[in-house]
Symmetry: C2
Subunit: 106 residues, 2 copies
């Protein structure tokens, strides 16, 4: 699945449109951001996308997690927000949650 | 319910502890932040809280929304992250979601 990458300069409406499009098609979207400005834009975009998806009767929640990503050979910690329909998380997310659990406790 | 207010200078571990405590007691927590730095700390704290709550068999998701708050007589837009157990959102959240829907479409 394509990850929607968000920067501090991303337009929230454009990101929200992308999230809504992916949710309509796949019922699951992954939004990734590095840094406070980017995380803020990502969260705002999810709020907008939530509004866009009301007409599609898709009510969304998000599940945040840390992920290590390689940027020009350097490892950076990104925040990934998995967007999923409320109350029916796909198996892929449940698997991720199970995998994360042990590390998350450290 | 008490709202957990997060600033850009909040320690994520402390906020995460507060979120986990409220989740254990009420199964619902509200985390509020204004500005990119604060939203970033709030999201990171939720990720940590998710780890803390694994032992309690509480798996959390979050639902972001905009809220207007009064700060010293000025109206500011805050981001509220409602933290709820996965797959069983309390009625109060469902009511909020229903109320929000019409405006969110504007």
């Amino acid at each position: 699945m394509n990850i929607i990458k968000v920067s501090a300069n991303s337009r929230t409406a454009a990101v929200a449109g992308a999230i809504a499009g992916v949710m309509r098609e796949n019922r699951l979207a992954e939004v990734q951001s590095i840094g406070a400005g980017a995380v803020n834009q990502a969260v705002k975009a999810i709020i907008l996308a939530k509004g866009y998806l009301v007409n599609d009767h898709i009510d969304i929640v998000c599940i945040p997690e840390f992920v290590d990503v390689d940027i020009d050979g350097k490892v950076r910690t990104a925040i990934r927000l998995t967007v999923a329909p409320r109350g029916e998380l796909p198996e892929i997310v449940l698997d991720q949650i199970d995998e994360q659990a042990p590390e998350a406790l450290v």
